[in-house]
């Protein structure tokens, strides 16, 4: 699992978007936008390029069940997290939390940087 970390930004956003449950491509895209307050916008190529790699890495899988045809388009593909995907998402979020905590700590802010000697 460690070899997958740190995750590319698109991968992390997709994992977070899929945490509540299975979703199709466009729902993932909209949720990623909502999660990032519109800062991260994925095009179809980025989304499905990431999906392809995540399927290969075993982070997500295609959900076999299709929604009611009257409610949604039957051609849509739904994706969901695997156990590994869940663990990788948690590990990456923990890593980022630790980074944010450390970066905001007084200890880090007061850390002295050795000054270069002037020539």
């Amino acid at each position: 699992m460690k070899e997958l970390l740190p995750l590319p930004s698109a991968t992390l956003h997709i994992l977070v978007a899929l945490a509540p449950g299975e979703k199709h491509g466009y729902a993932i895209m909209r949720d990623v936008e909502a999660l990032s307050d519109g800062a991260v916008r994925m095009g179809p190529g980025t989304l499905y390029g990431s999906v392809k790699r995540m399927l290969a890495d075993g982070l997500i899988e295609e959900a076999p069940a299709r929604p009611d045809p009257e409610l949604d388009d039957q051609r849509r593909r739904y994706y969901r997290l695997t156990g590994l995907g869940e663990r990788v998402r948690a590990a990456e979020l923990a890593r980022l939390e630790a980074l944010v905590r450390r970066a905001g700590s007084a200890e880090w802010a007061q850390r002295r940087v050795p000054r270069l000697r002037e020539a």
């Binding site: 491509g25 390029g49 890495d57």
Partner: protein, 244 residues
């Protein structure tokens, strides 16, 4: 109007490699259609740059998926070799070439999501690497001679037509030979590929009989053992890291 935009987008999807299209063209077109309904023509502001970024990535991934790991490492070695030549031999004029090389390297690295050549810590130490087969010491010696030859001639004005090309060539191939030997204990095909390619200049200078014979012995050794031969058991093997 939406249908026309969707039709154009579907046509542009042909730029993606066939294998990617087979799996994702339909959902991508559908997703673009959804976006078009939500945002109108502004959907192109995302889809256009997205395509420019991702088509080369997917194309490169498709090519890399077709070649064997050995060929992939050889391709990387050739790219590195080209970069060395460019830096040492052609100076500042090589900048555009370097940009292309760096871009290709970055795409390959990102596309595979893993390191192509294992980090230094995973390679065998050179000493066990050169005692693993009867021909390996000859290959190591040949590599060393190429590196020393490269260093020795780097300041000469008359090497290969007065250019520094020959010296860079020798340096890079010598390094490739040693890398191949160190890689071999973990990945026979890759290591052997690197060694065979690095031996080629020994034949190019066939009138200098010693390197040509040495090169021939290395080729016979590699090919007679089979291209993916198993390591010979050492009488008193020294421990070194093994792959997972």
């Amino acid at each position: 109007m939406a249908n026309r935009h969707e039709a154009v987008y579907r046509a542009l999807l042909l730029l993606y490699p066939r294998s990617f299209r087979a799996d994702y063209a339909e959902p991508m077109a559908q997703l673009f259609g959804d976006r078009l309904r939500d945002r109108g023509r502004r959907a192109w502001l995302e889809a256009g740059p997205d395509m420019v970024r991702n088509v080369p990535v997917q194309r490169m991934e498709a090519v890399m998926a077709r070649v064997s790991p050995g060929a992939r490492v050889v391709a990387l070695a050739v790219i590195v070799f080209g970069a060395v030549l460019a830096i040492v031999g052609f100076g500042g004029g090589a900048a555009p070439l370097l940009v292309v090389v760096a871009a290709v390297g970055a795409i390959v690295a990102v596309a595979r999501q893993r390191r192509i050549v294992t980090p230094f810590g995973e390679r065998a130490p050179l000493r066990p690497a050169v005692t693993q087969a009867w021909w390996a010491p000859i290959a190591a010696l040949l590599g060393l001679v190429m590196i020393l030859g490269g260093i020795g001639t780097v300041f000469e004005a008359h090497n290969l037509g007065g250019r520094i090309f020959g010296s860079s060539f020798l340096l890079a191939l010598g390094a490739m030979m040693l890398l191949g030997l160190m890689r071999r204990p973990f990945d026979r095909v890759t290591g052997n590929s690197l060694i065979l390619v690095a031996t080629v200049p020994a034949f190019a200078f066939f009138w200098v009989i010693v390197p040509a014979v040495a090169g021939l012995l290395v080729w016979i050794g590699v090919l007679s053992a089979g291209f993916s031969d198993e390591p010979r058991r050492l009488v008193n093997p020294r421990p070194y890291p093994t792959p997972d």
